[in-house]
Amino acid sequence: MTETIKALRIQLLKPGVTVAVPWYSIGIAILIVTALFAVVGGGSPPYTGRTTGALCAFYASGIGVQPWLMNQLFPFSMALSVTRRAFVRATALLILGEAVLAGLGLALLNRIEIATHGWFVHTRVLNLPHVHQDDFFTQALVYGVPTMALTTATAFVGAAFRVFGGFGLWVLGVGMAFVSAVVVAILMLTHSMGHVGHFFATQPMLADFALYPLALVALFGAGWLVLMLRARV
């Protein structure tokens, strides 16, 4: 455990990079959206008419963190004699911590948005209709688990780059795109696309935003683990 904590402390030496970037982004996004709608004005427009996609900024801005960890901090940590296992455990803790923080933080911002009637300008940044949950902790899960899935996927990409290099990552990307295209083609040819859409549409929201992303966490997490334990420096 001491080794893991050591590796985690090194990862947190730059909290502005490892943890804070998505929070800067969502903060700036809220400010911009609020300022924009304050300038636009227009009395009391319907609440649904002011729904924004600014929440994407939170998720998109954090995608560079894990590749940075895998390709810059990992070799340096190994030079300082941190083991692969300790680095992996520390990163897993970091991912879990970030997901918990994202879930609780975004759920709190959601409550603030509701209480301030859309940041005083009737806008929707976090309280989007398709992700709304009445219970605070369920809401936190809906925000937090996709964060974990995205972070794990980017960690996998970072590890793939570490192990296979740029060309390997390109082959992996093309391969995954090819497999996806084949799956879509099969669904189209068998006229099953509608069934798939219907399946996900009829699932409980918690399944769509927590259960299935958790399956992605398991999938990418396993791949990431295998790659990292074989990574050379």
Binding site: E3, K6, R9, I10, L13, K14, V17, W68, Q72, L73, P75, F76, S77, M78, A79, L80, S81, V82, T83, R84, R85, A86, R232, V233
Partner: protein, 285 residues
């Protein structure tokens, strides 16, 4: 007990044999010079010793245990590479803070002193450092870590002569106060000739020389004089190099044969000359 014990170590990578049946032992509290040409296998060996690379076959023990994923071993090891990668957005002080977290013998006061000696800007991002400053960061970490086994792989790329001398002075000074096992890989053999106590010469993945430095210094000689007299003097001794011009000859011998005949002059070979000639020649034994 040896700090490092390697037996029949082989490392193959994408069809290339980086190390071929290497066996050696590094004794504790000694400065070892790991010498050899580019691509000889020195870095690969050091990467395996520090668990960064995986051997294909053979036995590797550091402090009596396999190093791979072994915190009991790795906690006592620090490896600074020529191409050491630092997080580019780290500042110098953050790189040192990471080392302070990771290295259990970290001496902060000593690190501060070294930072001053090398005139390192603590608050400058790593990506804005010159090549020499980057090397200095590695040297500060390697020395202040005070790891029982410290490996420096070409640690002073881009460092000027003054900074290199500071490194040698600090290394020797600190080593005499706190003896530990240092492995120094370098191409600047003349500069470290008086520093290293034991020499390991690697070429094409094989160990050509594994000897006490003092023994080596006194052993190999350059002999010059009339060709016939030189040939007679060198008879039966392994010749590392031979050149002739007119009736005069100059040979480098792996061993000093004895008392020379009149007209034959004998000079000791420098460590660098010996290494260069041995590498060109193959095993002198």
């Amino acid at each position: 007990m040896s700090v490092v014990a390697v037996e029949d170590l082989t490392m193959r990578y994408r069809g290339h044999t980086a190390l071929d049946g290497v066996s050696l032992a590094l004794e504790p509290d000694t400065i070892h010079g790991m010498l050899g040409r580019n691509g000889a296998g020195k870095t690969t060996l050091m990467r395996i010793l520090t668990g960064q690379e995986f051997e294909t076959s053979g036995r590797v023990e550091v402090f009596g245990q396999p190093p791979r994923e072994n915190p009991a071993v790795l906690n006592r090891v620090c490896f600074i590479r020529e191409s050491q990668k630092y997080p580019t957005n780290f500042k110098v002080r953050e790189a040192l803070a990471a080392a302070a977290i990771a290295c259990r013998n970290w001496d902060r006061a000593y690190a501060d002193r070294l930072v001053k000696d090398f005139e390192l800007p603590r608050d400058r991002p790593i990506k804005k450092l010159s090549r020499g400053q980057l090397s200095a960061v590695g040297i500060v970490i390697g020395l202040a870590a005070r790891a029982p086994l410290t490996l420096f792989d070409e640690p002073y790329l881009g460092l000027d002569a003054v900074a290199r001398q500071i490194f040698y002075d600090r290394l020797l000074e600190d080593f005499s106060e706190r003896p530990r096992t240092i492995v120094l890989s370098t191409h600047l053999i003349d500069e470290v000739a008086d520093l290293v106590e034991h020499v390991v010469l690697i070429d094409h993945g094989e160990v050509l020389m594994d000897q006490d430095a003092d023994e080596l210094r006194g052993r190999a000689v350059s002999v010059s004089g009339p060709a016939e007299a030189v040939a007679a003097y060198a008879d039966g001794v392994p010749v590392l190099h031979r050149s002739e011009l007119g009736g005069r000859a100059r040979v480098a011998l792996a061993e000093r044969p004895g008392r020379p005949a009149e007209g034959v002059s004998v000079d000791s070979l420098s460590l660098q000359e010996l290494i260069v000639l041995t590498t060109n020649q193959g095993d002198p034994k």
